[in-house]
Structures are given as C-alpha cells and as structure tokens.
C-alpha cells in the first residue's frame, strides 16, 4: 500500500494480455499525488475475472523522467495506476 506523497517506480513489464500501464510509463520514477481507493482491476477483468479489484493511485511523473532532455522542461504527466504496477521508489 502506498500513501500520498510516496515515491514509487513503475515496474518494467510486458504482459501478453491487457494492461493499463502504458508502455511509455514503464520503469519510471514518480510520486503518488492522489489515492483512488479500490477500483475495478482491468487487467484481470479482461482475462475473465469479472470481480477483480485493486487499489489504485494517481502518480505524477516529471517530463524529464519520461523523455529525458527531449521533454518539455515545464511539464509532467499524471496517470491512474494500479498497485501491482508499482514498487517503492
């Protein structure tokens, strides 16, 4: 479980089925900016578990941590990510 303000890092993963962790946000450091509670866990639902649910968080990533020096210097991207995508950063 993570809390507001926690540093996290998205896992490097490439599952064969559905996932809501976008490829451009894998293996990136970020910070929890919102706790979303428990949401329907899309990855498992897509595989047939219709009741699957998991905690989720809004995570903010600095542009430089996604695109390096090629990113906009005054920008960030926030995404809503399930707990199993994240590890302590």
């Amino acid at each position: 479980m993570f809390a507001l303000g926690d540093r996290v890092r998205t896992k490097v993963m490439n599952p064969p089925g559905h996932t809501r962790l976008p490829a451009y946000l894998r293996g990136r450091p970020g910070r929890v900016v919102w706790e979303l509670g428990t949401l329907p866990f899309s990855d498992a639902r897509a595989a047939g578990d219709r009741a699957a649910a998991q905690r989720a968080y809004t995570v903010r990533f600095a542009t430089a941590d996604i695109w390096g020096a090629d990113g906009d210097p005054h920008g960030s991207v926030c995404a809503d990510l399930f707990e199993s995508y994240l590890e302590p950063g």
Partner: protein, 198 residues
C-alpha cells in the same frame, strides 16, 4: 502502446455491430427500438452544455469550486448530475492557474467525460493526439491555437483507469459582471479538455 484492442476500420466495426444487433434481436434480448431509446437518452443528456454548467457554477461560487476540486463526483450530485449513469467512474476536476495549464488525454484508448461533454471529437481518439499530447503537449496546444508562455507548467492527465478528467479553465478577464448563464455560454468543449483556454 501495448493496448490489446484491435483498431478496426469504421466499416469493419459497423458490420460487426450490425451482426451483433441482429443476433441479439433474433435471440429476443432486445429490439432496435430499445437501442434507439438508449442512444436518444444518451444524446439528450450528454452534451458539453452540462460541463459548461459545472464550470460556470465553479466560477461564481467559490465554495462550490472548492468542493468540486476536492471531490468532483460528489459536487456533481449537488447539481443533479449522476456520472455513474453511464459507467461507474469518478470525476476529477483539475483547475488551470495563471502559471499552470492542464490537458486531458487517454493514451490507451479514448476515455472521456462523456456525461459532461457528450461524444468525444474524432481528433481526441486519433493516435496522433493520443501519442503527442504526452510527448509534446505545448506543440499540440499551439496547433489548436493555444500558445502558452514558455514557463507555464503543463500537466497532462492520462486517463488510464476509472477516473474521468475535466479541466476547470480560468475565468476570462472582464467577466466580473457576467451572469452565470452568460458565463456558461463562454465555456467551450475544448476548454474543458484543455486544448483551449476557455
């Protein structure tokens, strides 16, 4: 993107929908009239005017604005708007500030606050917008005619789960004496997505 959707041509999708509807009708699950009623209800209720009502209220009522930013879903209920009618989603409203701009995208598919803005524009679903909004938002905004100062921070919200985002634009200057309904008329769909400033 690793999304597992197969993106079909519209003709292909249209044929599949026709086949599906014919199958459901043959099985006695629904009639074409049932479907028409659902679509009509949807189009009557889901329009950008609904989002504009939320924005104008937030501009004139500071306490409502605070509640809207803290819990969008609950604040909408005050206005009699039930988001979950279409899907069990939460609403997050993100406010523009003089030095901070917000932009909404769904890089994985086309998640969008349908209940507040109606059906999404074609460009919102295009792979060009979905890939470039997170990679180079400032250029995307400029192509929409919205040029931000170089030091204005941009936050891009990628709608990857069951949260739908709505941008609260800055209230236009010189509108101190405008009525709430006059303000509603100034709000644009693109302003609530973040590709425009109002």
């Amino acid at each position: 993107m690793s999304h597992s959707h197969v993106h079909e041509t519209s003709a292909g999708a249209s044929n599949r929908v026709k086949t599906l509807v014919a199958g459901l009708e043959a099985a006695g699950v629904l009639t074409e009239a049932d479907l028409d009623a659902v679509v009509e209800t949807f189009l009557n209720h889901a329009q950008p005017a609904k989002g504009a009502r939320v924005i104008a209220r937030a501009w004139v009522d500071g306490a409502f604005r605070t509640r809207l930013l803290a819990d969008g879903t609950a604040a909408l209920e005050e206005l009699g708007i039930d988001l979950s009618h279409w899907a069990p989603v939460k609403l997050r409203v993100v406010a523009n500030e003089p030095r901070r701009h917000n932009l909404i995208v769904c890089t994985l598919c086309s998640c969008y606050p349908l209940a507040l803005l109606g059906p999404s524009p074609t460009w919102y679903k295009s792979s060009a917008y979905r890939s470039r909004a997170v990679r180079d938002p400032r250029s995307v905004l400029a192509e929409f005619g919205t040029t931000l100062a170089a030091d204005v921070e941009i936050t891009v919200w990628d709608s990857t789960a069951e949260v739908r985002y709505l941008v609260l634009p800055l209230r236009p200057a010189g509108t101190e004496h405008a009525t709430e309904s006059e303000l509603e008329a100034m709000v644009t769909r693109n302003g609530m997505i973040g590709t425009a400033t109002v």
